[in-house]
Structures are given as C-alpha cells and as structure tokens.
Amino acid sequence: MTLAIQIEQARFAYPPLAPGQPAPWVIDGLDLALGQGEWLAVMGASDAGKTTLCLLLAGLAPYLTGGELQGRVTVAGRDTADHPPPALAGVVGLLFQEPEAQLFNPTVETEVAWGLENLGLPLPEIHSRLDEVLALLCLDQVRQRAPGDLSGGEKKRLALASVLAMRPSLLVLDEPMGGLDPAGQRDVLDALSGLRRDRSTTIVMTESDPEAVAAFADRMIVLDGGRIALEGTPRDLFHRPGQLAALGVAVPQMARVAVTLNEKLGAAFSFTSVDEARQALAVYLG
C-alpha cells in the first residue's frame, strides 16, 4: 500500500539572507511515515520547524522558497523533488497559517472556483463543489462578498473551503483553529472528521491549541530543532506534562487536571475529555 506520506532523513535549509551568511538546517534529520486516513498533529515551540514541514509536504519548499533539501519527501507515492506543486494539485492541499496569504480573488465564489477552473473541471462540477464546500464551512451567506471584507474567522474558513474544493487526498493545515470562534472550530473539526470518514482523507495539522489535538488527532509528534522529539498518541503524550513543557507544548485542561490530581492524591487518572473526567472523578468521590 502506498503511504500518504513518507519522509526519509529530510534536512532542509532556507537560502541564506545574504551570500556567505549561515543557512541553518530548519528541518534536521526527520523521518515520518503516515498511512492513508491518519490524522497527525504536529506540535512544538515556535521555530521548531512546524510550518517548514507543511511547506515541504506541499512541495512549496524548496520549489518556491529556494534553499536546500536533502533526503526524500514523498506524498501519495510522488517524490516532491520530481513533482512541482502544480503536479501535486488534487493530491496535497495546504492551508496557510495566515489566510490572507492565499486569498486574492474579488469574491468568495470566485476564490473557491479559481483552483477548480485551473484543474479544468466542467462547469457543473465546479458549481456542485462550490455549493458543497460553502455549505460545509457555513459561508453560504457571504458568497458575493470580497474576501478582504470578511472577518478573520470567515477568511480562515474561506481559505479552507478553497483547499477542500480541490478534494486533495492529503490535507496539510498550518494552525487551522487560529482565529476561529469556538463554534467555528467545532464546525471545521467536524467537517474534517467527515472528510476522513467518507473519503479517507489524510490530515496533518500543526496546532497550538491542545484541546483540538486531544479530541481529534490519533497520532502526535512534537518537533524540536527540526526533528521529532516525541511521538505517540495525544493521550499518552499529554500525560507527560514535564516533557511537553520543556518542548514548549501546552497541555489540554483535562489532562492537566488528571496530572495535578495524580500528584495531589496519588491517584492514577488519565482523561482528556470532560465526560471522561466527570465519570472518573465521580467514581473516585464514591
């Protein structure tokens, strides 16, 4: 079976600011294999290499950024060294951290349709995908608005709608929850869950909000200095707050409750959701 992602001994450095200046390895010996349909959360401090990993997976680094890549980055069986970003359209979809970076059309509708037109899809197909993603991300009411006039959260959902319309088999999301209100976060996470269930879409998301990671991801890596410092399930890793703190990673509130009470009471709680915590704590009270 073809893996959704296979990264072997990748090292990457951006071009130096000026000739002769140092170009440090931002990704520095990273190995990763991910099966189709997995949901991977990438965590780590600022400058751990999270965004660069996203750019590598989308083939934008080094294609657009310049710089030097060693090792191999393969997505859906395609080596990004031989497949420039246009050849990866429909395979990888990237959501940038700042939605402004990918919005440039005059209206919400044309923004979403732009990529589809470039795929050369027939008009009825474009219309049906447009309707589907705008409904999925609750953007029906703003179809004719200019992207620049949308609120921060709406821009984020529009950028995601444009990515989803392309139906990539691998979604790479750089801080997808940033700027979304709690209801919007839930809508987006539910939409992503649906895609994974119905189309077996693989999801890689960098995320600083541990609550979303705990609730949705089935695997988690923590980057440090461009390599993987910790790897496991969110539940396991979130119950190691000391290690995570040293790596600059926040822990969800429920796991913090579990760890704090374990220390205070000598208990052995392990929970990441409110429901689990309520049940365990009620039983413990007797």
């Binding site: 400058d47 709406e154 801080e175 703190a245 926040a250 429920m254 704590l281």
Partner: protein
C-alpha cells in the same frame, strides 16, 4: 461609573458600501484598571469595535471617549499615547528594518530621551526573549516570533490602556505564559486591558469581566464564573465554556461549587471535597 478610561455611547458603524451595520447602538464603559475579555462569534463586531478605541475607525453615530476626552478630532497618533493596540495579524503593524528599530519606534514618538528609549527597548527585548534577533529584519522571523515582536513593541510603549486583538494565536506555550505573566503584571500596576479572544480558558482565568457580543451589540456582561453559567448567552454568542468550567459544573450534584475558573482552583476544591468526605461527619449546627 466614576472615571471610565474608555466609553462608547450609542455606537453605530457600517463599512462603506455595505448595507448591514456592524455595530448597532452599542454602549460600553470600561473602568480604569479593569481586565476585560471581549468575546463573541466571528463577525460579531469585536475587531470593528476595538478599532474605534484608537481612532482607526470613526463612529457613524454615537461617540467614543478615551481617557476622559472625546476621541473625535484626535488623530491615531495622539490616541496612541493612551491606547496601545495589538492587531490580529502581526503583518499589519511591523514595518521597521530591524526588530530593535521596530520596538524603538513607539517610544521615540512619545518624545522620550534616547536613554529612556533604549532602556525600554532592552527591557522589552529581554522580556519577550528577542535579544538574539534584535538586529534581524522582522520579516524573516517565524509567525510566533513576529507575534512576540508586536507584543514587545506594546510593552516598550507601556500605555495606560491596552487593546489586544487575539494576541495568543500562533504563540507557543512559553510565549503564552510570558504574555499572560506580563499582562498580569500590568493589571497589578493598574493598567487597563481589553482582550479580544476566542480562548474561553484564558478569558475565564484572567478577566475581571467578560463582555459577549452578537451582531454588533452586547448581549451579556458579567464576571467569568457567572457568564459561563448562562447557557442561552453561550449559544447565542457561539461560545463554549472552557473544559474545566464545564467539568466543575457537571460535578455540582456531587458537592462542587461549580465556579472554578482554572485547573489549579478546580483541583484544590476537588481535593478539599475529597478530604471533607473522608473525615468523620461533624454534627450540623441547628439552623436558626
């Protein structure tokens, strides 16, 4: 209210060419020294409201008073002496060739002496762990670092009122801890803080008062422990109570008070409840 530092009265605003007003007759008074969290759905008008506080937007109807004076007729530059503003997107406010110059820009415009400017810049660089990149162009820094540059710029200005629009997006755990450590210090020194956020855990833990907006109006204003109890308000404003608040409330039938605002306060109360259960029951005093 005696001497509010910020006051909006009957505020209406609509963007040019749009039919629907974004702010609809909104009233808000912020007392000096308050830590206020402004919450609500995307598009509810939070950013539009706060941009009136430093003059980036001007009311179509109604008025805004900053530090006791009408904001009308005062320039953005003048208002910047009173109001420090952190944009949602760091790109919107970074423009100097180096991080150090970026931080010095505001204090220089306050007319401070070069020595005072330098002291403030050095302090802010150290506080936000930016000393190593002081000579770098901000544009090459990662999002999280650029975020810290904008926070450090505000710290160097040290205005009486700070308005922060989603300051935590893109910050890692240490960045978050140092930002809220800094805000707590400012709050203790009597600075006023208006925090626009979608992070209900932060609002619950740090704010004196939470103001919820919906469709350009304020639909609730209460201390966090009260606001997160109001289910109707939560759903109208697209809010979700923070996990620890939801957990505390779910355990009320077992004797928890249900007003925890942080993981620490929850765990203390739970441990105390458990200790109380284990101890032999005291005979109750007869009620008078």
């Amino acid at each position: 209210m005696a001497d509010p530092i910020l006051e909006a009265q009957g505020l209406w605003f609509w963007y040019a060419g749009e039919q629907a007003p974004v702010l609809r007759g909104l009233d808000l008074a912020v007392p000096r020294g308050e830590f206020l969290a402004l919450v609500g759905a995307n598009g509810s008008g939070k950013t539009t409201l706060t941009k009136h506080f430093n003059g980036l937007l001007r009311p179509r109807r109604g008025s805004v008073r900053v530090d006791g004076q009408d904001a009308a007729g005062r320039s953005v530059g003048e208002l910047a002496r009173h109001v420090g503003y952190l944009f949602q997107n760091p790109e919107q406010q970074i423009f100097s060739p180096t991080v150090r110059q970026e931080l010095a820009f505001g204090p220089q415009n306050l007319g401070l002496s070069p020595a005072e400017v330098e002291a403030r810049v050095d302090g802010a660089l150290a506080r936000f762990r930016l000393s190593d990149v002081a000579g770098s162009p901000p544009a090459i820094l990662s999002y999280g670092l650029r975020r810290r540059v904008t926070l450090a710029s505000l710290a160097a200005m040290d205005p009486p009122l700070l308005v922060l629009d989603e300051p935590t997006v893109g910050l890692d755990a240490p960045g978050l801890a140092e930002t809220f450590g800094w805000l707590a210090e400012l709050h203790a020194r009597g600075r006023t803080i208006v925090l626009v956020t979608h992070d209900m855990s932060l609002a619950a833990e740090h704010a004196d008062r939470v103001v919820a907006m919906r469709q350009g109006q304020i639909i609730a204003s209460a201390p966090p422990s009260e606001l997160f109890r109001q289910r109707g308000v939560l759903s109208q404003a697209s809010l979700v109570a923070p996990p620890v608040v939801a957990l505390a409330r779910a355990l009320i039938p077992l004797g928890m008070r249900g007003d925890s605002r942080s993981v620490e306060s929850f765990c203390e109360e739970y441990a105390a409840l458990l200790a109380g259960r284990a101890a032999p029951r005291q005979p109750r005093e007869p009620e008078l």
